[in-house]
């Protein structure tokens, strides 16, 4: 039972990340009709917002100690963090909590990047075919990852979990089990909560604000909304920025779980597309449901008992589900009629 619960929790945690990425992707498709292959790169840029913030906050003064020599005979450098010099203990806390604090940097940065990307490149491809949109956004993704690589190198840059949130929570004890029977990392629990909050926030924004109502109307019938004198293009540009922010903050919070590298966006790209296709292109609830569903399936497929029955199932389960969905219900679980159907 506890193994089952642990895998379920793991699936929800994974699904949270998938849902967050797929949410932005399907938002862009639903509003702009653009298949954005650069969406994974936005997730990666979010990760590097956290890396950049930590780099800035840990800037050091470097002095040379002529008394000590390195193994090759050069004087040893002594490094002192500036923030800790200036703010003392508060500086140390800032450094320790650099990942969650960097969300404050990621939100404006990703908004600007998203808007610039849409205004600079994507808008010129609205009326082009999906194949051309895929080509240009894929090219953009490669450019972005090469830029990141030139600044940060090819190796992963690990980001630490704040000291208070390290280690694992003894969840089993909360439910009356013996100690150490069911444990799960604090940060992963936090990520699950964070995913739920962001997803809830996006849905609330679209459901309960005038802006969201216009966007939903535009998603249903763009032309009619335009004829009513509403500048729907401007709103869709902001939606693109919002999608970039969602991907970015998802990336920021993911950095302690997976040391970011320039290639991370590509690693998540295919997966997030599968999630969107399974959920239904353009369907926000579908993307979220499919994200959690695929996360849970992937987690259970990795269990030794399951793998011994069907070897290699852990590596193909997601794609197997996608194939079945496309065969049985091409529009996806919650897709609108006509989308991806002949």
């Amino acid at each position: 039972m506890n193994v089952f619960l642990a895998q379920l929790l793991n699936g929800l945690d994974k699904g949270g990340a998938y849902a967050l990425i797929a949410l932005g992707l399907t938002l862009v498709f639903g509003t702009l009709g653009v298949v954005n292959f650069a969406h994974g790169a936005l997730f990666m840029l979010g990760c590097f917002c956290a890396v950049t913030f930590r780099y800035l906050i840990t800037l050091e003064t470097v002095t040379v100690d002529p008394e000590k020599l390195s193994p090759w005979g050069a004087p040893v450098e002594v490094r002192t963090p500036l923030v800790q010099n200036w703010f003392g203990d508060f500086g140390a806390v800032l450094v320790d909590y650099s990942v969650p604090i960097s969300i404050l940097l990621a939100i404006p940065v990703m908004l600007i990047i998203g808007i610039a990307m849409e205004r600079g490149i994507i808008k010129h491809f609205y009326k082009r075919t999906h194949a051309e949109q895929i080509l240009v956004t894929f090219g953009l993704a490669i450019v972005l990852q090469e830029i990141v690589k030139s600044f940060f190198g090819a190796n992963p840059v690990p980001q630490p979990i704040p000291t208070d949130l390290r280690g694992a929570a003894d969840i089993g004890v909360w439910f009356g089990m013996a100690p150490h029977v069911l444990t799960y990392p604090w940060w992963r629990l936090l990520y699950l909560l964070f995913s739920a909050l962001v997803i809830g926030g996006v849905f609330a924004f679209l459901q309960f604000t005038t802006f969201g109502m216009v966007v939903r109307a535009g998603m249903a019938d763009r032309e009619t909304v335009g004829l009513m004198g509403i500048d729907i293009d401007r709103r869709f540009t902001i939606v693109f920025g919002l999608a970039a922010v969602v991907a970015g903050v998802a990336g920021v919070m993911y950095t302690p779980l997976l040391a970011p590298n320039y290639h991370l966006g590509m690693d998540f790209l295919v997966l997030s597309f599968v999630v969107v296709v399974v959920g239904g292109m353009g369907s926000l609830p579908g993307a979220v449901a499919a994200g959690f569903l695929l996360g849970i399936l992937q987690s259970f497929a990795s269990m030794t008992e399951v793998k011994s029955l069907i070897p290699g199932i852990d590596q193909v389960i997601i794609y197997l589900v996608a194939v079945v969905i496309l065969l049985v219900r091409p529009r996806g679980l919650m897709g609108r009629r006509g989308i991806m159907e002949s």
Partner: protein, 447 residues
């Protein structure tokens, strides 16, 4: 009857004719070699091909290796402080190039990809006329290039490759490995595991699902079971997986008290911190502290894994903080050139280049069969690994293997690993036949 009375003139004539007669076969033979092997540099440039990952998952290790190669060329050509040419014993190189001529090089990017590595090596041989190709960070790259070089009659000095297969079932006459292998890691680490964690343990393996992972798992499993450890499960994980959480949760309730991560590169950089995040190191199982072991360590990966690496035991081919003369000389040369201590990737690349050049110098020719014979069975010292031999039967170097532990209190950002012991060359030596394979012929193909 005329009596032969030698005088000084006839003696000189006779001696000259004799020397010419004795030398004639050698000249003809040497001329024959010159026409019979790929990229004979006798009348052209001496080009070495450095083919390493400069992009992809292992780019950082590849670029480090490239620095080692470039430094080696400088030292061979007499530039810089000479590095390990001052400590290598015996040494034929004189610091004036190879056979009196300067060496040049070309570089390639394997993209951490087996096919790209093979294509790059072919391009170096066919277009750039490389007489020797070297470089790798994965065993897949090394085995692919080694096989190609055998087909084309060009010597391949592998870079970083740890699979038993490289000098086992996939060994080639034209391929040589200085780096240690998975079997040696297992033999080297076992006594230290017994000392630190006891002989009554239950191990759970997570293994990268490719050639290196398989041989690593087999070697460590054999070594730990010989100690008395029980293997609870061996689980294969996809190569390049980022999030290992779904493979770590089953470990928690498996009854194991040791997790062995047969992961390298980015796999290890991700899986080790995630295992620590799951609280495995704070966990008690079977009445003992739960332990994590990473049998194969690299400094760059240890840096990548951050704090999670502290206290973790593994093995290493070489470490810059050793105190032998060779290590000190190399660390000094490399530190002056690049402002940081060298990694084991840079070290093995450097050593391989020097060993090839020295073998050519000793053979007196670039003709591959003669160079191969000069390397086979070559015993040397002063390269940072103690007394070393290039075994003739499988082209594997035999030397001490280091057992290392992640530094609990690093004094600098370079000070990530502590050497906690060395396993002797004799202890890590094995019968070449146990891993099978055939070296193949000496005679080269024309490319």
């Amino acid at each position: 009857m005329a009596i032969f009375k030698p005088n000084r003139r006839s003696l000189l004539k006779g001696a000259g004719a004799g020397i010419a007669a004795l030398g004639t076969p050698y000249i003809f033979t040497k001329g024959a070699w010159a026409q019979d092997f790929c990229n004979d540099p006798t009348n052209g440039k001496i080009v070495l091909g450095f083919n390493v990952p400069q992009t992809g998952s292992y780019a950082e290790e590849g670029l480090e290796q490239l620095k080692g190669y470039e430094l080696a060329v400088k030292h061979i050509n007499g530039e810089g402080d000479g590095g390990l040419l001052k400590t290598l014993k015996p040494v034929a190189l004189k610091g004036n190039g190879v056979l009196g001529r300067k060496v040049e090089y070309v570089t390639g990017d394997t993209q951490t990809n087996t096919d790209a590595a093979r294509d790059g090596a072919r391009r170096m041989i066919e277009r750039d006329k490389a007489i020797m190709v070297t470089g790798s960070v994965t065993s897949g790259e090394a085995i692919a290039q080694q096989s190609l070089c055998q087909e084309m009659g060009v010597i391949y000095m592998s870079g970083l490759t740890h699979s038993n297969d490289t000098t086992g079932k996939d060994k080639r006459r034209y391929g040589f490995r200085h780096f240690f292998n998975a079997y040696q890691s297992g033999v080297a680490i076992a006594p230290f595991l017994a000392k630190e964690y006891g002989t009554d343990r239950r191990a759970y393996h997570l293994t990268a699902d490719y050639t290196w992972g398989w041989t690593q798992e087999e070697s460590i499993k054999n070594a730990t079971e010989a100690l008395g450890w029980e293997t609870v499960a061996t689980v294969r994980t996809p190569l390049g997986l980022g999030d290992y959480s779904q493979y770590l949760t089953p470990v928690l309730n498996s009854g194991a008290d040791v997790l062995i991560l047969n992961h390298y590169g980015h796999d290890m950089v991700n899986s080790l911190p995630q295992a620590v995040q799951f609280g495995l190191r704070e966990r008690q199982a079977n009445g003992k502290n739960f332990e994590i072991v990473v049998p194969m360590f690299s400094e760059l990966m240890a840096v990548g894994a951050g704090e999670a690496v502290k206290g973790i035991i593994g093995t290493s081919n070489w470490q810059w903080s050793l105190d032998d003369e060779g290590t000190k000389a190399f660390t000094k040369s490399y530190g002056e050139a690049y402002g940081e201590p060298p990694s084991q990737s840079a070290h093995t690349g450097y050593v391989q280049t020097i060993l090839y050049a020295d073998a050519v110098e000793r053979a007196g020719t670039f003709y591959p069969p003669e160079v191969i014979k000069a390397l086979e069975g070559f015993e040397f010292d002063g390269m940072g690994n103690g007394h070393t031999v290039y075994r003739d039967s499988d082209h594997q170097c035999f030397k001490e293997v280091l057992v290392v532990r992640g530094n609990e209190n690093p004094s600098s950002r370079f000070d990530v690993l502590n050497v906690i012991g060395k396993t002797t060359r004799e202890d890590v030596t094995y019968e070449a036949s146990i891993f099978g394979g055939e070296l193949g012929p000496y005679e080269p193909n024309k490319c």
